[in-house]
Symmetry: D2
Subunit: 330 residues, 4 copies
């Protein structure tokens, strides 16, 4: 392929770039869609213990056209010799042991919650069991791409953020860092088809604030297969009258985070199927307050899309490679 | 009918109880459903200028079985001699003149916004035109049934509340009256298939607080034909640790307002098609705060159901007459 | 209750009319809704083995207002001494033994498929196990109300029809009996949220035709919580040019089966929550053919509503008692 | 770009390939999505009379990231000097005059119904007005790609098929051509969010049959923003027992038409957002009959996707260029 030259200049040792998906969850089928059009990645191994021996199209008929995908194998039968990178989509809790056992040279993006919380005692508190790979936890980089891009570049293991934390931290972290909003009384009302927890959000905001931030977080289950909206109610710092300008500066060079024109309400169906986060900030009737709305496709920017964005960075590829999907509207 | 005797003791002069619906809007078809099973009301006149001369079933095939309903007439052709009460479902703005011209002896429940705001200058500000019936405005009683029941009993004209204000004021008014929550920083995040405005809400809360209350109100449009959920974020007054008990006391004798068991989340499909408001109060992660969730069917308790509840009271009927519909779940 | 006098004149032996629901399935919650407003029935026993000891409102919050409902008991603990009638909503297969063990004096409507097929060898073929109560099967009356009303009056055990068979047989049986359509090449394309089978349909049509009828039946799963539409493609008998008139004659005195005005398409949301079946017949572009469309709420006329209609008949009550719900539109 | 060389061999004069979209309809936003990732096409002109002067992102916020798109202009202000091809998405009826006035050298794909019917008298009968460009009608090629690919290669004007006709003709044309099914009594029951008409379908099937085919066609409106399913009931020719094999042979080399494994039911959400048509054939309970199910995304293979597929062919590009979108599931 014409791309080979450029690719080899990137990494002379690689014969063929390849990604190994560690299991077949619901989530995974989204990654396969993204990788199917990726110019540098092929999928060489896909594991799925209960479905070992089956084709992916027998489980997901919408992949009937993807005849090059490997047959599913059990984790024990997976061979990593041709593998450069792993996207790990195992359930929370079982991931730690699996990743501990992987060859050290692999680049790993983990989509579970297992390495998202820096404080392993907090992990134990929320997930009800001690962390079994604290060393890896220490090494893991939190993969909120636009905030931790530099750290991700050199990471070996990236903990991909949850969907709610992605939609919430992207607007709040710049505002907290710039001290434009109060750290107290941040109220978050999110709507999606998924449930979620709050420690990851508070960790990210506390890190940005250099002090403990506790938020009010209420996720509402909606009958939607894709899409997540977070409405965030904040108090502005004394004398602050503008949040819009800060978000504009923070994200004007970002490809996947977009501040809308003033007054335009972000809508989930405007990002469906894409890796975009749309956001905007609105005045509140109560003086000194503001309302922020952000939307993502929870299955793309909130999961597999951001995972691929991170992996692109880790591998030295252009960050947007394979992510050029425009929203599917309507 | 066997009920006639009881009914005559209520009003000897009446030959046949009757309700006149003043127009055929989307909204109206809901009232017809409720009146169809009402033991004391018959519908003698229905007006609909553009559809005058048509049967209701030709517009709404689900009424094919209601063969006793009168043919639609234009407003000018409506005869009020046999009419005791009017449910007025005209668009905002056109209602004032119509009601001004009605015979004085009629009981009227108006479902438009025209008589909801006590301050006619506020009406002008929000609706962009001066109020054309300020005397009637002065006379009108705000029909939030559980709060203003005594005033409704003797009212001639009731302004039926909007759906958002109903779902929001029912939980907040008792908490404000009892001074259990702060009046500032009340944040309301509502989800429904309808849009809405805030002055009616602030009027009701200010009235309960005896001081001006300004709220943050964000309605979210959801793809749902029926159902409204309001999530309300409040600060408790200093030293207050409980809101649940107050709501329990306030509503324990109410038929249509139900405080759920602690921990149970109110869901819109649990009230669909019924006149119930379900509510509950939850602790917030942020100390000193609480989260209230209330749900109604916006087309019943938020419109025609509460209208009939009010009319029952105005006519001296048992308040729940014709409103014994259990929720249609699923 | 004031109704007792009238009720006693109906059946002097009864002290209190009562219905025993034999289990708590998804389906059952619909029957409870219907019985809650029924003037002659109270619910004295509800069984649910896994949920024994719980209240119905703890399982279905929309029943929070129904404080008179009995606590769920296990089948073994159910006492039938005060019970006059049973609505049995157990899964297919387990029903036969349960009903065999009930006191002989009870009126029973069974909502499972266990007694719907007259030919027990056909039952065995479709359900994979021999029928364990062939005597009861012989006794059972098929409860398609408008077709078998006379038989139902004296029945002790009624097999309530499936939802697809109800929506399909109601229009087809009169047309087959009057020999207006060919028995061959009947094509049925149904849309609902449920799956279904065909032997019950063919049994009913064959019975009407006095000869074996085989149909083409394709049920399509749609994302709808309530509602079922059957589109039926038929060949008219030689020389026949009208089907509408026959359906009009067949159903003009029926309360729950309605032939719409010519040209009006039956829509599922026009019968939602009600016991109605709406139908109509349309000309086909292909000469000699016709298209029939019928709609029901699969959870009412297709299940609990027809069950109550049957039970009313079996008890000698007016057939529409407790079934006066107008459709919930929209 | 590496592709430039190949492209220049196609047309030495072009500096930049470009497509002119003739108007902004709902439909058009889909084409823009497809062209955004197309390697050989840029969009140089977009017309929209009422919205002239606006950006596309002000109308469709999901295009906020497409900063290179031209500002909308009115039809009169459109300049065609840099334009090689036109995708015309004007309403039925107004298209004829517009296309008549275009420079003769342009390749045109028209998405309206104006040039789909070969017989202009049939056009007049169905659309209520005489055809105003019968010469163009004569020249137009019907763009059902897999059936008329050879004709499309040399076409100047392609009439892009309607969505229902696409989903119906793709399975039926090969079966009719091979005389495996009877031409009479073809019954088509389609489900989608759009309405549709039948003459285009009968034209295509009659052409394949070399004799007049009249079908029974019933489109059902479903609450779905994308997706179309056609269920087709056919009689097999005497002695025929297999249709599957014929469809397999007809489409085994096609990229966008897929016959599923035996027994797998095509589902609309398995093709959502993609240019695929999935189909399968099932035995019928009635001997001698078969049931065919086909699904497409009505906004892609049923409209803009097939349009781009056709334009690729007309321009000499690989047919699948810019169409490599996998289905967006779920």
């Amino acid at each position: 392929m014409a791309m080979a030259g450029w690719y080899q200049s990137l990494d002379q040792q690689l014969v063929a770039a390849s990604v190994r998906l560690s299991c077949i969850l619901f989530l995974d089928s989204k990654i396969i869609r993204l990788l199917a059009n990726h110019p540098f990645f092929g999928i060489t191994v896909m594991t799925a213990d209960r479905n070992a021996g089956k084709s992916i199209e027998s489980l997901f008929p919408h992949f009937i056209t993807q005849k090059d995908l490997p047959i599913l194998v059990s984790s024990n039968d997976a061979i990593f010799s041709d593998v450069d990178a792993v996207l790990c989509c195992l359930p929370h809790g079982t991931t730690q042991e699996i990743i501990k056992a992987l060859p050290k040279g692999l680049k790993i993006v983990d989509l579970s919650a297992d390495f998202r919380l820096r404080d392993t005692s907090e992990y134990e508190e929320w997930y009800g069991q001690p962390h079994r790979a604290p060393d890896l936890q220490e090494e893991a980089i939190y993969g909120l791409t636009e905030i931790f891009r530099e750290e991700i570049k050199n990471a070996r293991l990236v903990a991909n953020p949850g969907c709610y934390p992605t939609s919430i931290q992207l607007p709040l972290v710049p505002l907290i860092k710039s001290k434009l909003i109060e750290y107290k009384n941040i109220i978050i009302d999110s709507k999606s088809g998924a449930s979620g927890a709050v420690p990851e959000i508070e960790q990210g905001l506390s890190h940005a604030a250099h002090s403990k931030v506790t938020v009010s977080f209420t996720p509402h289950l909606m009958p939607m297969s894709r899409g997540m909206q977070s409405t965030i109610y904040v108090e502005m710092a004394p004398g602050v009258t503008h949040l819009y300008q800060q978000l504009k500066v923070s994200y004007e060079d970002e490809e996947f985070v977009k501040l809308l024109e003033k007054g335009v309400v972000p809508r989930t169906h405007d990002v469906r199927g894409s890796n975009y986060c749309y956001m905007n900030v609105f005045p509140d009737r109560i003086s000194g307050r503001a309302i922020i709305i952000s939307v993502i496709d929870n299955l793309v920017k909130g999961a597999s899309g951001q995972a691929l964005q991170n992996l692109n960075i880790m591998m030295g590829f252009p960050e947007n490679t394979g992510l050029g999907y425009l929203p599917l509207f309507p």
